[in-house]
Amino acid sequence: MGFFDEPYDFVAPPDDGRVEGIYKVTGKGKYSAEYKVDNICYAVMVGSTVAAGSIKSFNLSNAKQVAGVLDIITHQHKPVVPGLADEAKIASARFGLPVFHTDKIYFKGQPIALVIAETLEDATYAASLVEAQYDTESFAVDFDKAQAAVALTATGKERGTMDAWSNAPFKVEAEYNIKAEVHHPMEMHATIAEWTATDKLKLYDKNQGVNNVQRTFARLFAIPEKNIEVISEYVGGGFGSGLRIWPHALAAIMAAKQVNRPVKLMLTRPQMFYSVGYRPASWQKVQLGANAEGKLLGILHQSKNGTSKYENFNEGITRVTRLIYNFENLKTEAAVVALNLSTPTWMRGPGDCTGDFAVESAIDEISYQLKMDPVALRLKNIATEKNPETGLPWSTNFLNECIAKGAAMINWQDRKPLPMQDINGDWSTGYGMAVGMWNAGRGNASAAIEMKKDGSITVQTAMTDIGTGTGTSMQNIAHDVTGISKTKIKIELGNSNLPAAPSQGGSNGLSSISGAVVAVSNLLKQKLAEYAATENEVYKNAKPTDILLSDTGISFQTANNQFVSYTSIWDKSKLTVLEVEASSGPGAERQQYSFCSSAAHFCKLKVNRKTGKVKIEKMVAVADGGKIVSEKAAANQMSGAAVGGIGMALLEEMTTDERLGGLVGDDLAGYHFAVNADAPIIDVAFIGKPDPNINPTGSKGLGEVGIIGVAAAISNAIYNATGKRLRDLPITPDKVLGW
């Protein structure tokens, strides 16, 4: 890949390397804040210092005295944003926080002013001098305290009845609490906004879907989508934080309008804590029943998650409960708890990751009551034939195979059936496992290919690659379908001028784009066959599957290959660049089958009796992601997710202060995610069987199943080591002590 703002040499990656790898490790790949734009200036957001109330007045005089300050936007002084022009429009815009369009304060840190200056230093300093007076109101930021008062309501259809299993001989009833977690991708969110004409906008923006950005701002500024170009070629991680369009991007665009210059706005790490969503805090209660043979009879799963005071974000915590096991009796209830915090959003394995922790913990707990191996208990109850929610048969579901394989990889037979049976000095060893599943989706996506006379092609799509290896997979697929060698396949993505594609999220990216790349690769073959037919009749009506492309020409897959060179095609037909574009999307198969990705997670760890230290020794993740298009990138997804799961289980916690009304601590020294020392090398394996119905490549997404189940596998292992059932995450040493 290269850059859209300057010429570049195409450097082919090593054989199994990523297409963008060399650009990334040499620092040449450009993330959104790194583009050079002439005449640029800088914007810095000023946050509210109170958690609730309204802005009474501003004192901007000190800030304005800073040399280099160009303007300061507030709700009283701002350019027109047609889509937010009045209350009714704000309501229908569904943008979320109406930043700079309200005097109301919903959370501490909420942007109240935007300082625009010649340099980042000027803007930052002036921002620190902006003063505001508020009428304050009472607030609530502590989820655990606030949730008790919120009533649950039914969500989803009840299956069977609660009475049917009220006399189950084995029962678990327990509550689970998980603290909020923050995505914190390495690259902070940033936007460079440039109005290239009064109704034309160019954005360099960090996000997970350029077309989504385009649509959102076309609506807000009442201009055609095609007038907005969004460039997001390199995205330094997202984890869901880039699936929505957040206030800072709007702020940058407003600033650019206000000063009529390109403006760069980059969030600071502290601002990342409350500006681009987070996984909300949650409470859950699970009641689970089983008979003596280990058949799970029924489940009641209740959940609540935090949200903001200005939007309802329901994480969908009980969704996964309806998916994995054959619960004939099932009831789910949910509620959201409004807090004076910013709105949470999807974070890797959204909802399912949370719900799965509770259910997989409860299943582990009941396995000890039943004196049944947790592996056997799961194998007995997993819905392998059909989706228990829709009744449709699974297209493929290899979760049982994942479990069997994972158990072998971790040497599950070494696990002691009772806790505290494997003690050595102050350390006790334990094993745990859990499973995860995710609806395998697919969206409509388009891709194009440009081919030159020298046989090189460029495969293009608007889809972003957020580090998942999308570009590399596209290259692999194009190579597989066409036959052109990888060194001649260039990838361009993350630009809204390229063929439209869905956002990269919900593990849909590869499933969606792979179909388009197959389609456009076949179209290229077909087009070349048509051109070849003008030279050689046999190519008339040749099917793409009959022919093969090499680096120099087209031929049949048979011995008498009827080779025609690109040179002669180009010369004869007077071509410069051959361009083809195709789209692909889901169809009738979605009415016939259900689709899922799944994974089994295993963990071996030891716990120290004196220090509460949990040391993970081995982790195994086996996934069914259909056909694995790019082994290295797929394994990387899985191990990255497992490390994220370690963070969720043991470390990550967004802390609030109920008296002061905001977050406590806003740096990565205090907000702990796992570092190398906390994580062993993750042993990853795949089932690798293509799903024949999902898309032309048979691949299913892996982003989410890599994390769903990890936290439960870890806490289940801690129980196996210590006999202490820990139901609140993160499991920090203070919670482990005392067994």
Binding site: Y125, R659, V675, L737
Partner: protein
């Protein structure tokens, strides 16, 4: 961050002459720059001291002198330190990250400020940052805060690991005062408790510099341990830490040193337990007794009660590890 003037000096005297109330010295900058970015420190000018203070480690028969500008990493790589004062290297390596240790200076490490989250958030009351405004941690999120030696003004802890070892090894701090005179101060008296002046972390006179640190030769280079318990395995500040060192004769403890980080406003010496250990057999029972002695009178806050049993376990583990550390 407020704009500032940055200057280098050619001599120590020049650096000292530039120093006044609106000026701050900068060494590695790993703490000060963060404090400036967060508008906690707002100096009008910065005086770079990296070239005017000693950056060498020198030794004589009786002691080692570490210049104030010796980087943390350099200490851990020094052969004499590794042979004779290994506890110091071990404590340093338990702190921060390689990148930070490469920048962090010896003097700066002593003077790094607390990591109490409220201290870093200028929208909250904090007596240490702004005297008289109150202490947000007292009834707030005080999981990381003190369990001993605090006052009703401030419950912060000193975050350094290196300083815990220096306290255990009875180091001496050499200062250069504003009028370019050298003075010595015992390390254990260098940092102070918050009492009624929480804004003061230590007894360094106004506008003075730390010149160097010295440690006398000691018998604690064989049986020593630094146990740091933290939420994450690397790159995290201590919940509690314990520097332990034993001088053994056979299985009998001749002398012991025990100090802790993460428990108080200063690196904390457990002198009573040290006395207790003298002459005792180095057994698990003795170690447990010492740990109980240490944890008996502690007064945890609303959210850090766990630090008491954690410290108990850390002391036991550290003393136990002293028996294997020399291998």
């Amino acid at each position: 961050m407020r704009p500032f003037i940055f200057s280098k000096s050619s001599a120590l005297s020049q650096a000292l002459s530039k120093k006044n109330n609106t000026t701050q010295f900068i060494a590695g900058g790993t703490n000060l720059v963060d404090l400036m970015k967060k508008n906690i420190a707002q100096p009008e000018s910065l005086v770079d001291i990296t070239t005017v203070l000693p950056d060498k480690i020198t030794t004589n028969t009786k002691s080692i002198q570490i210049g104030a500008m010796v980087r943390n990493t350099a200490i851990t790589n020094n052969a004499t330190v590794k042979a004779k004062y290994p506890l110091l290297a071990k404590a340093i390596l338990a702190g921060a990250s390689p990148q930070i240790r490469n920048m962090a200076s010896t003097g700066g490490n002593l003077l790094q400020r607390t990591r109490c989250p409220y201290f870093y958030d200028i929208t909250t009351p904090c007596n240490k940052r702004k005297p008289g405004t109150g202490c947000s941690a007292m009834q707030g999120q005080n999981r990381m805060n003190a369990i001993v030696g605090y006052s009703d003004q401030c419950v912060a802890v000193h975050p350094s690991d290196m300083c815990v070892a220096l306290a255990a090894l009875d180091a001496t701090v050499t200062l250069t005062t504003k009028n370019n005179k050298q003075e010595n101060i015992a390390f254990t008296n260098f940092h102070r408790l918050p009492e009624n002046l929480p804004e003061r972390d230590n007894n360094l006179p106004a506008n003075a510099l730390i010149h160097s640190i010295s440690i006398n030769e000691n018998p604690f280079n064989k049986n020593y341990a630094y146990v740091k318990l933290r939420d994450r395995d690397s790159y995290a500040f201590a919940l509690v830490s314990v520097a332990a060192a034993l001088q053994l004769s056979g299985n009998t403890i001749v002398q012991a040193r025990l100090a802790s980080g993460g428990v108080a406003h200063k690196p904390w010496r457990w002198t009573e337990a040290e006395q207790y250990l003298k002459g005792k057999a180095a057994t698990a029972t003795t170690f447990s007794e010492a740990a109980t002695m240490i944890t008996k009178g502690l007064k945890p806050l609303s959210h850090n009660g766990f630090k008491v049993p954690l410290l108990h376990g850390a002391v036991e583990t550290a003393l136990q590890n002293c028996l294997v550390a020399s291998q």
